[in-house]
């Protein structure tokens, strides 16, 4: 499925990238999305991104809710006029027949206060299941997107459940068995991880250590900002964001503190975006004289 998507989007002119090697909550955190959505340069890319959502852990007991799963992300800047058609064709490429399955675009506006970002779009339903988030980015890091990028985020497990007609993510076939290797299911690969990681996220993780890590990431982000390396600063912002999510899962952040922590993460992420834009602006304005931040 991933190979089919790679082939398809590569043919549409997308660079095929690899996952960002950090713990993130969504493919949007990949620098290929966040930082590339800023500025005037055209950018088309596709990649798989593993995602961690500690509070979504269900100890392996829910058929499609996981604390660790995979997204397939496509970003196209500027958004092409036939983006919906391109997307629908990609579904056909991976084997979803739109005259057999009910595909719908249901309003779902996207907002990430931590990234200072928002966009309008839909969640795409396939027979009532959200399989893709479809967004036209309007702002990123507090900046208007000029031009606007279109972002497609496919939930790979959910799509696979459709294609393989399985009721549970854990029953998905992970491979095609042959004489050299036996069959593996998604459960064989990940069920134990889900059980253990749910327990760790919700019950075990040392909260004092997490608070400490959060503070350290925050300090390091500022250090990187001061040194004029915004991409490094952005990585620390991502780190702080994930640690915040872990603290949330541990239930040790009150409502009031929550706002304050989110504010701190937002300041880091936006600080990195601002620094990135400032650093790149001379080049952008030289190449695109019309462009303004």
């Amino acid at each position: 499925m991933i190979l089919a998507l790679h082939d398809y989007w590569s043919a549409q002119g997308c660079l095929i990238l690899q996952p960002y090697d950090m713990r993130v909550g969504a493919g949007t955190f990949h620098t290929a999305t966040t930082l590339r959505a800023l500025g005037p340069e055209p950018w088309n890319a596709a990649f798989v991104q593993p995602c961690r959502r500690p509070t979504d852990g269900r100890y392996g007991e829910n058929p499609n809710r996981l604390q660790h799963y995979y997204q397939y992300q496509v970003i196209l800047k500027p958004s092409p006029p036939n983006l919906q058609e391109l997307y629908l064709k990609s579904l056909e490429v991976i084997g979803i027949d739109p005259l057999k399955h009910d595909i719908r675009f249901v309003e779902d506006d996207w907002e990430s206060p931590t990234l200072g970002a928002w966009g309008l779009g839909w969640e795409v339903w396939c027979d009532g299941m959200e399989v893709t988030q479809f967004t036209y980015f309007q702002q990123m890091g507090g900046y208007d997107c000029k031009p606007v990028a279109g972002e497609l985020t496919y939930g790979l497990e959910r799509l696979a459940m459709y294609i393989q007609n399985k009721d549970s993510v854990y029953d998905l076939a992970f491979n095609t068995p042959n004489e050299n290797g036996p069959a593996f299911t998604y459960g064989d690969v990940f069920l134990e991880n889900e059980k253990q990681m749910s327990k760790w996220n919700f019950e075990v993780a040392d909260t004092d250590a997490l608070f400490d890590l959060f503070n350290k990431a925050e300090a390091e982000c500022r250090n990187a900002l001061n040194a004029g390396v915004p991409i490094a600063a952005y990585e620390q912002a991502i780190e702080a964001s994930h640690i915040f999510n872990l603290l949330q899962a541990r239930g040790v952040i009150s409502v009031q503190e929550r706002a304050s922590y989110m504010g701190r993460v937002r300041d880091l992420a936006r600080g990195a975006c601002v620094a990135h834009v400032e650093k790149e602006t001379p080049r952008w304005t030289e190449e695109y004289p019309e462009w303004q931040a």
Binding site: R58, P63, P78, P81, P98, L99, K100, R104, L120, Q256
Partner: protein, 758 residues
């Protein structure tokens, strides 16, 4: 006469915005035609997720030529004025005409605006309408969005069909050029559909699997969903909001029935309904006994090649996962008791200056208990209100405020019953917010209270406690059910009082339209609870009891005033005039709202009678005279004459009317002149009426008090008719003014008539 068809196509328009968009399209189109002088009949406006369509019938081919005249300055006016006039009207000086106006030669500008082709008018109107479209949320897209000036629309605008008769209305906006073609269903039809005439539009689209008329789609969903339920031996739970939403999500709606595992029915039905409705936009069904069935109806947007088998299977899978999540929450939450959940409230801040939710719960528990111990809420509270007592619902399936059977031990007002009520109230209050930290409420915040009630019942707490936890947020604003059972009333009242008083004490008051802490709603809730349950208590005592220790206590009067303002709003909705409220509030200082409202109602009824209206007129006349004469009243007179009347020194307010009546009596005896007939009659009537009214007020017989006042109407009318107040003799004048002052005081004893308008 020619028909016009406009279709604006775009990527999927959010369902909730389509109704507003239809209205906006009609409004903008009418405004455009209006300014071009084109008269319109009815418009047909349709919407689907992918298009807005407008049909205007019988438009003229040409707008009419109009001749406009403007009158300018007279001949000989300064050049500047004449040139300014020319500029304003877009004419040159030699085009001006001179005409006689009232004997003066005056310049006139005559502009002949020729008729225009309506097609041209439309070609200009379409881009103007698109640019001015007021979407609640709009966006930029594509390469053009490199500029912030680019067009904003709800989603990318993709096509314009503009047909006038059989001709194209040629226009362009944001790179989208108008054409004569439209598109059919996204999956059932590919390629352009050429529309030759407006009359073919609807049918051609239908042939391509698009029902363009939203009302037709809605009717279809209603009918087919109901049929699908019937075919399965079930009844559809009607939901008009879902009908409209699904019609806004589909061009070719196909309701299909699916099932879920019966085992999920152990989860409370409200949870199942909420997750199916909000998350999946499915209808639910009831079985023959009226209970929720393990079935749902989804609305697909295609006529599937397999008849919908795969779609139903897919939706069943999704719902199973959703319900599995709900059951996970339901199971996890019940592993702990509410009291254990409540400990988590220490981690949730209620407000920075008002502590944690746990702190709030502690205050509410104390206050609620106090309400019982002070006898404000009693075991009989609510019993007077009309209510249907239903048997305790064993499964607790009901989400409404139907009270459970009151515990028989709570009947009677003995100490034991009061103590038990107080204990239950305190327990319910302590557990009232515990569900906020449960998984279920975390996922579905709208289930707060309701889930607490379920969990309380599940752990075997008394129904009265579970009901109180469930219903203590009620009433949520005006029109919501008001609790009538004692435990709930106490907790609900205490919760709202704590919120209202606390936020006022930290100066977080509502201003203008801003009321972030919903204090107006809290105040209305407090009033409704007091009035509907006839709780006899001074609002001042309540405010004092609810005051947060260590916080400013000065807010008391302000809170009372705020409540009075809310009372006026509430009374207004009950058709009670605000001036009636003012007239009573001015004399009711005790803060007993039940008493106040009875008095207000009696006053309004009285003022509505002929006696009342005339008495008011007499009162106003008396008050005006007293004001004009700057009459200082008895005390001033006494101090002026240096005499001291020992009766005037009695300052017990309860005795005041009696004293005044006594003084009036003596006054009559002391008058040295022969009073006129009407004067004497008034003195006598007053001495009768005043104590009667006072006694009636004390006994809360406000109708009686009004009736006593009514006896003054004829005497006061006669007095004004035949007696001259401002008599030349000083004594007569003084005595008569004093009499009027007494009359005014007697009326004031019932209500401050000076605040009544009219």
């Amino acid at each position: 006469m020619t028909d016009f068809l406009l279709e604006l196509r775009c990527e999927e328009i959010p369902a909730r915005m389509q109704k507003g968009a239809r209205a906006d399209l009609a409004k903008l189109f009418r405004a455009q035609m209006d300014s071009a002088g084109i008269t319109l009949g009815d418009l047909t406006i349709w919407s689907t997720p992918r298009r807005l369509a407008l049909i205007a019938r019988n438009l003229p081919e040409q707008t009419e030529a109009v001749s406009e005249e403007a009158k300018g300055p007279p001949e000989g006016a300064p050049d500047q004025a004449i040139e300014g006039f020319c500029r304003k009207n877009g004419v040159t000086r030699d085009q001006l005409e001179l005409r006689e106006v009232k004997g003066r030669a005056t310049y006139f500008a005559v502009k002949n605006v020729p008729g225009r082709a309506v097609k041209d008018v439309l070609a200009e109107a379409i881009p103007a309408i698109i640019r001015a479209f007021p979407w609640p949320k709009s966006m930029r897209w594509g390469a053009a969005s490199a500029s912030t000036e680019s067009l904003r629309w709800v989603r990318p605008l993709s096509g314009i069909l503009a047909l006038f008769g059989e001709e194209l209305v040629d226009c362009e906006v944001h790179g989208v050029t108008s054409g004569l073609v439209t598109l059919g269903h996204r999956f059932h039809h590919s390629g352009d559909i050429t529309i030759g005439h407006v009359d073919n539009y609807q049918d051609k689209l239908r042939a391509c699997h698009v029902i363009v008329d939203h009302a037709e789609r809605e009717a279809l969903i209603r009918q087919k969903a109901s049929e699908a339920a019937q075919a399965a031996g079930l009844t559809l739970v009607e939901d008009e909001g879902l009908v409209v939403e699904n019609a806004g999500l589909t061009e070719w709606p196909q309701p299909l029935l699916g099932r879920f595992d019966e085992a999920f029915l152990e989860v409370p039905p409200e949870v199942i309904q909420l997750t199916t409705r909000i998350n999946q936009k499915y209808f639910v069904c009831n079985d023959a006994s009226g209970k929720l069935a393990n079935a749902f109806i989804c609305t697909a947007n295609i006529a599937a090649t397999d008849g919908g088998v795969a779609i139903v299977a897919g939706n069943e899978k999704v719902l199973a996962a959703r319900l599995s999540d709900a059951r996970f929450f339901w199971d996890v939450d019940r592993k702990k008791q509410l009291a254990d959940h409540a400990e988590g409230l220490q981690r949730i801040t209620f407000h920075e200056k008002l502590g944690t939710v746990a702190d709030k719960v502690e205050r509410v528990a104390k206050l609620a208990r106090w309400l019982v111990e002070e006898g404000i809420v009693t075991p009989q509270t609510g019993a007077i209100a009309p209510q249907i007592v239903t048997p305790a619902q064993a499964g607790g399936q009901s989400g409404d405020t139907q009270p459970s059977q009151p515990d028989s031990r709570l009947r009677g007002n003995d100490e034991g019953a009061v103590k038990q009520l107080a204990d239950q109230v305190e327990l319910a209050a302590r557990l009232s917010k515990a569900d906020l930290v449960t998984e279920m409420v975390g996922e579905f915040p709208e289930l707060q209270g309701l889930m607490g009630g379920y969990y309380a019942r599940a752990e075997g707490l008394p129904d009265a406690v579970a009901d109180a936890i469930r219903d203590h947020y009620k009433p949520v604003g005006q029109g919501d059910d008001v609790p009538h059972v004692p435990v709930t009333v106490a907790v609900a009242l205490a919760d709202k009082l704590d919120t209202l008083v606390g936020f006022f004490q930290i100066e977080e008051k509502p201003t203008g339209s801003k009321d972030p802490f919903a204090l107006r709603r809290a105040a209305i809730g407090i009033l409704s609870l007091i009035l509907e349950n006839e709780l006899r208590v001074s609002i001042f005592d309540l405010i004092t009891a609810a005051a947060h220790p260590g916080k400013s206590a000065e807010a008391g009067q302000e809170i009372a005033n705020f409540l009075i303002e809310r009372l006026k709003v509430q009374q207004r909705d009950a058709d009670i005039r605000h001036d009636m409220v003012d007239a009573v509030v001015a004399v009711e200082q005790g803060g007993d709202n039940v008493r106040m409202v009875k008095r207000i109602a009696a006053l309004q009824a009285f003022i509505g009678t002929e006696d009342g209206a005339n008495l008011l007129a007499g009162y106003k006349r008396a008050a005006n005279i007293l004001k004009k004469e700057d009459w200082q009243g008895d005390e001033a007179e006494i101090s002026r004459t240096g005499e001291e009347d020992p009766l005037a020194l009695v300052d017990d307010p309860d005795l005041a009317p009696v004293i005044r009546a006594k003084m009036a009596e003596r006054h009559l005896a002391e008058i040295s002149y022969e009073p006129e007939v009407a004067e004497k009659a008034l003195i006598e009537a007053l001495s009768e009426a005043e104590p009667r009214a006072a006694a009636a007020v004390a006994a809360e017989d406000f109708e009686g008090a009004m009736a006593a006042l009514a006896t003054l109407r004829a005497p006061i009318d006669a007095f004004f008719e035949t007696v001259i107040v401002n008599a030349p003799e000083r004594e007569k004048r003084s005595s008569r003014l004093s009499l009027l002052a007494q009359f005014r005081a007697a009326v004031h004893n019932v209500a401050d008539f000076s605040r009544i308008e009219g």
